[in-house]
């Protein structure tokens, strides 16, 4: 049982997960933003590890990643910043990023560092399921690190069943056929959301991509255990800054 399991054990609905890019807007903002999000009442944090070529991301996350890399962010620097994470907060934290920087850091060392700093799970969108099973699964299970898998409106029922068996913690439901930060109308996805609801998966589900305000958050929550906000939060940080007040203000916009 890690902090993700505990969260979904005690809370079944309206879970708010926030994604932001580590090292943005400034290199040393990472841990402060985590503390402010925790204080504001956010349930879960997805910490993005920036990559030069983020295939699944829209302009907002791309640009924040590019800035973070320029600021000096890397997997190594991030673990340095996180070394005292658990002295100040118990909020579940997931690292999210592409496989290449992790390969260069060293996969086993990466898993060790996650566990050592108190990271609860990972989302690595471009890591294929067979690759995870061969290279990661055993170690992740042993160390209690959750691997969270994604599904999309085009994922077939049989593959969703396979993903449900292999995902740990929750399933990340991508709201539409899109990259992050897109505003494809969520109401068009009713059929997809209802289809997944009826499948009675063993994992809880969070909906992400395109969630940006109270209305889209509430809508997503009506079909799932909660929702994930990324690009809209990064936009907010760019405009309003990283202070406790600014982050509290953002939280109140989503959950008045």
């Amino acid at each position: 049982m890690n902090r993700i399991h505990n969260l979904f054990g005690r809370k079944k609905e309206n879970i708010l997960s926030i994604y932001f890019t580590a090292g943005y807007p400034s290199l040393d903002d990472t841990t402060q933003i985590i503390r402010h999000l925790d204080a504001a009442g956010v349930d879960l944090i997805e910490l993005g590890m920036p990559f030069s070529d983020p295939l699944a991301d829209g302009p907002v996350i791309q640009e924040s990643g590019q800035k973070a890399i320029q600021n000096g962010m890397s997997v190594k620097v991030l673990f340095e910043q996180l070394k005292d994470l658990r002295s100040s907060t118990e909020i579940p934290v997931i690292l999210m990023g592409y496989l290449n920087p992790i390969l260069q850091f060293g996969e086993e060392q990466f898993i060790e560092k996650c566990v050592g700093t108190g990271i609860d799970g990972v989302i690595i969108p471009d890591m294929p399921l067979p690759y995870y099973k061969e290279h990661w699964e055993q170690l992740c299970r042993k160390k209690g690190l959750s691997n969270i898998l994604l599904i999309t409106p085009e994922t077939t029922d049989s593959r969703i069943a396979e993903i449900d068996v292999n995902s740990d913690g929750f399933i990340y439901m991508v709201s539409s056929n899109s990259i992050t930060g897109s505003n494809k109308a969520m109401d068009l996805q009713k059929g997809y959301f209802e289809r997944i609801e009826k499948m009675e998966l063993r994992n809880p589900r969070l909906i992400g991509f395109g969630i940006h305000d109270q209305q889209s958050f509430d809508n997503a929550c009506s079909y799932s255990n909660g929702a994930i906000i990324g690009s809209a939060f990064i936009n907010h940080l760019s405009k309003e800054g990283t202070s406790a007040d600014s982050i509290q203000k953002f939280y109140k916009k989503i959950k008045p």
């Binding site: 791309q62 290449n100 920087p101 690759y131 898998l149 990259i179």
Partner: protein, 394 residues
């Protein structure tokens, strides 16, 4: 056409595979399931071969260059891919993929392009088949390859500038992949090189393998032997190189030499020589060698040639390099320019800057009089006239 294959999951040794996010899984999975049976079917082969012959203009000649042979003291042949319709080898692949897209009932085509040759070849095939297409091209490349941008537009393609990152081929590829994520059902992505997730490297290799198929037959006719001593090809992503190598990979005799873009020098910090500097990693859904920082950020490459300005190489080339089957070397921007000038003046052929890299390796080889050398002249130089004009002060 079936002699050299990756594993079922698309691996050449440890290289290749399909490292794609779930958003791309259905698209890639559909291609993986369908491509072999479609492209090996009789009806497909019949239509493909007929178009290569009557539309593309194949077979392309194998030209014995008496002038280069005397200059470099060997028997030098040029495989004239520059004489293909649209001026490069790229159309071999786009004709194949458009026929595949039709059989998969796709309604729209997207593609990335560097030098613009693949973009033009895609726009051409789409015009022929009456399918709409969108071409992603780096802002920097749009500037330096303007004639090709204008050709694509005339052919009816929409050209979208890639404004992220280094604004060259790598970023155009990122943008095309993102477009594919946004339109997963009715859109086919025609990748122009042997890069990307499985099955692209294998599929593009097979469409381009017609080059070496022809070289074999033509050499046999001209020299009595179908096996040359050397084959030279430039290497960016590696589609012309694999096309020229394909049917020689299993023979023990022919030395395969791939020439990368050294840019301003391999250690200048401004280079696209992937094998010289790269480490193993993942780029555009495939495990291969790529130029990257210690932290795993993909580096912005440099080459005077837009078509070689790519920080990775196809996984098949990573494999051929690691197993020692192919030798990967590099030449600089300046050496490529000299070679382009020389071929223009000696043989009356203006080569593409990409192809000039292969020619530029000739002076560095230790050749014997009776060595048979085939240089794959992958494209013509019309698109590079602005660069040539500047450097040769015409």
């Amino acid at each position: 056409m079936q002699s050299f294959n990756p594993t079922e999951a698309g691996f050449y040794g440890e290289f290749g595979g399909a490292f794609v996010p779930e958003m791309l899984f259905p698209n890639v999975d559909e291609l993986q399931r369908e491509y072999r049976s479609i492209i090996h079917s009789d009806s497909f082969q019949e239509e493909f071969r007929a178009l290569l012959k009557d539309y593309v203009g194949r077979p392309t000649p194998l030209f014995y260059s008496a002038n280069l042979s005397s200059e470099f003291n060997a028997q030098i042949y040029l495989k004239r891919e520059d004489l293909n319709h649209t001026g490069a080898h790229k159309i071999n692949n786009t004709v194949g993929q458009i026929l595949l897209a039709k059989r998969l009932n796709k309604k729209h085509i997207i593609a990335e392009t560097g030098a613009g040759q693949h973009g033009v070849a895609t726009a051409t095939a789409c015009a022929l088949m009456g399918i709409g297409c969108t071409i992603f091209m780096g802002e920097v490349d749009i500037e330096r390859q303007m004639p090709n941008v204008e050709r694509m537009k005339l052919l009816g393609a929409k050209v979208v500038p890639a404004t992220s990152g280094s604004r060259t081929l790598k970023d155009a590829t990122n943008e095309a992949i993102r477009e594919w994520i946004n339109n997963p059902v009715d859109t086919h992505y025609i990748i122009g090189s042997v890069v990307g997730p499985h099955p692209y490297p294998d599929m593009v290799s097979k469409f381009q393998s017609v080059i070496s198929e022809e070289i074999k037959a033509q050499l046999k006719e001209k020299t009595g032997s179908s096996e040359p001593d050397y084959i030279l090809a430039c290497l960016g992503g590696g589609s012309n190189a694999i096309g020229a190598f394909y049917h020689f990979i299993d023979n023990g005799k022919t030395k395969l030499i791939a020439v990368e873009a050294g840019g301003e020098g391999v250690h200048s910090g401004r280079t696209a020589a992937t094998i010289a500097l790269g480490r193993k990693g993942i780029i555009h859904g495939s495990k291969t060698y790529l130029i990257q920082t210690d932290d795993g950020q993909i580096t912005e490459p440099h080459s005077i040639s837009a078509g070689l300005d790519y920080p990775g190489i196809g996984p098949v080339h990573a494999y051929l390099h690691d197993t020692g089957r192919a030798q990967v070397v590099s030449v600089t921007d300046a050496e490529a320019l000299d070679a382009a000038f020389q071929l223009s003046r000696k043989d009356g052929i203006i080569p593409a800057l990409e192809s000039a890299h292969a020619l530029a390796y000739l002076p560095k080889m230790k050749l014997r009089k009776d060595d048979v050398v085939v240089v794959n002249l992958s494209g013509r130089g019309d698109k590079d006239m602005m660069t040539y004009k500047k450097h040769f002060e015409l």
